[in-house]
Amino acid sequence: MRRLAVAPRANFEARARELGFAFHTIDGEAYWNESACYAFTLRQIEDDLEAPSAELHQMAMELVGRAARDEALLTRLRIPRQAWPLVADSFARGDASLYGRFDLSYDGKSPAKLLEYNADTPTSLYESAVFQWVWLEDAMKQGLIPQGADQFNSLHEKLVARLGEIASGGLFHIAGLRDNEEDKGFVAYLEDCARQAGIETSVIGMSDIGVSAENKFCDPKDRWIELMFKLYPWEWMMADEFGASPAMANTTFIEPAWKMILSNKGALALLWQMAPGHPNLLETYFEDDPRKSALGGRFARKPLLSREGANVMLVDGEHVAREEGPYGAEGFVRQALAPLPDFDGWRPVVGSWIVGDEAAGIGLREDRDPITSNTSRFTPHAILD
């Protein structure tokens, strides 16, 4: 694994326009960075990232099987009581998952370590699946990287195929927040994928959703929302007024309610309890577990529910790094420290995608800061053997 300086493509701007990549610059800062790329060997990809991701996914599914009906565990995860039947029923029915993203700390040598699992509303999907992929083709064509390079990235194919499996046969609603450029880009890409799978779609805003007298959620045209992808976290849905509506039982959600178990940092402690010493897991405990002292003075403290690095605190002896934010009311876990590797002052985190039950590719975001946040730069990768 190396970080290579690469010349940006001559046609970057045109490509971004042509492919609808509107959020490559966020608040004046470059979010998409192609002045460098991360180079892996095929062995690193297959043995250190692809296979472990598939295994982590299997372990996560085993955990869901154990926790979906276990009130003690659901309580431990601070999942509200009103959500318990949704979690248990969605799992018992086999409600399908579309995707998820493991965030891994990996330096090319030691086993990749699971930092967290973005199981509910992971983004950076379009830039991983499309823009990164096109970068590789262009960069080879323009001689910026060697011809014959490859990329661990079958995301686009797998997404279209998975959507075809789970969302054919009806009107598929895709809901998100209306006022966020990145979220809008994500939703547009997901709709594009669904249409490529031959699915009839309707994009709506979360706040446009209504409920009928028959206890069914309906869209602005008063059509029943039978199956809905929501780019909106489950815990927010549970806190919203409609989260307690009986209509919750009459819509199938993607991601399904059982993902509440996995999108919770408490799952990291439960996974460690299930498979202590697993090479891809970090030792993790709930903050109120006395065993946390085993971690000594080097640990990361993470809220059970948090996004984009908010409220994460890294403690390394006397050195403390902290990202502020609005989360943490529901408690914390303490996780052994796995500092991100340092490549020329840049610290990449590897986002490893699961689509359905398969490992489908990676996307890296890098930051100078030890805590990856939502302003970290997406930097493409290549397999160069």
């Binding site: 699946a129 490859d150 279209v160 195929a161 054919s168 809901a175 249409r195 799978a197 805003g205 007024e241």
Partner: protein, 245 residues
């Protein structure tokens, strides 16, 4: 919102709603390890400036015929293709059959002739030939497109919506959805072989403007709205922060 309430039998495709939003039994493993770790092609129908498909360069080859646009030929039927002199007649026929096959499986589907015609025009819709599904309607092909590839031609069905300018065509998706009448099981659909492309088209969506949904039980009357979304504001004063991670 009148239609859909007349108590008609559910106009679902024959496959039924069983699979809608449900996990499937695990697919069998892909037939053979792919030589490449990445998607064979990436298509965007509407996201950017227009439909575009880019092909992966074949590993170790110098075949970089990525953008299809400059080599794409559009014809209304096979005879127009063969009389054009641009494509051998045999290839015109083969590609026509290929386009028809793609049309049968990839055309946008509607639950009534009326809904379909409201988007594609009177007399421009029919039932698929490949299965006798009650209540499934698809637009007629307006023509087909051929793209020259290193090993022959690739073909795709073209459509014209109501109001489209002459010469403006649209394409539908490329990945095989589950066959309507078969048990959905052995879809090792993600592996190679789904090479595809699309011709240029305008950027509006197939279904955004569509009326009643495929689901006949779909029509409801909202008695309350706005019960979702309020928690997001507690985490985002400006509204600019993403809800996602």
């Amino acid at each position: 919102m009148a239609s859909g309430q007349e108590g008609k039998p559910p106009a679902t495709p024959p496959q039924g709603k069983k699979g809608f939003g449900k996990a499937k039994p695990p697919s069998p493993p892909p037939p053979a390890a792919k030589a490449s770790k990445r998607s064979t092609a990436v298509t965007l129908l509407a996201l950017g400036a227009g439909a575009v498909t880019i092909y992966a360069a074949t590993r170790g080859s110098s075949d970089y015929e990525l953008e299809q646009n400059e080599k794409t030929l559009l014809f209304t039927n096979a005879s127009e293709c063969s009389t054009s002199g641009k494509v051998p007649a045999l290839d015109c026929d083969t590609a026509w059959r290929e386009a028809q096959k793609a049309h049968e499986s990839h055309a946008p589907r509607f639950s009534s002739q009326q809904t379909c015609e409201s988007e594609f025009g009177p007399g421009r819709c029919g039932s698929p030939n490949s299965f006798s599904a009650a209540g499934v309607f698809i637009p007629l092909m307006a023509g087909y497109a051929l793209a020259q590839a290193s090993n022959g031609y690739r073909a795709q069905a073209l459509y014209q919506r109501l109001g489209d300018a002459p010469g403006q065509y649209r394409v539908s998706g490329f990945v095989q959805p589950p066959p309507p009448q078969q048990q959905q099981s052995s879809s090792s659909s993600s592996s190679g072989g789904s090479r595809s492309w699309s011709s240029s088209s305008s950027s509006s969506s197939w279904s955004r403007s569509s009326g009643p949904s495929v689901s006949s039980t779909g029509s409801q009357t909202a008695i309350s709205r706005g019960g979702f979304g309020s928690t997001s504001s507690a985490f985002s004063s400006s509204g600019s922060r993403s809800s996602s991670s």
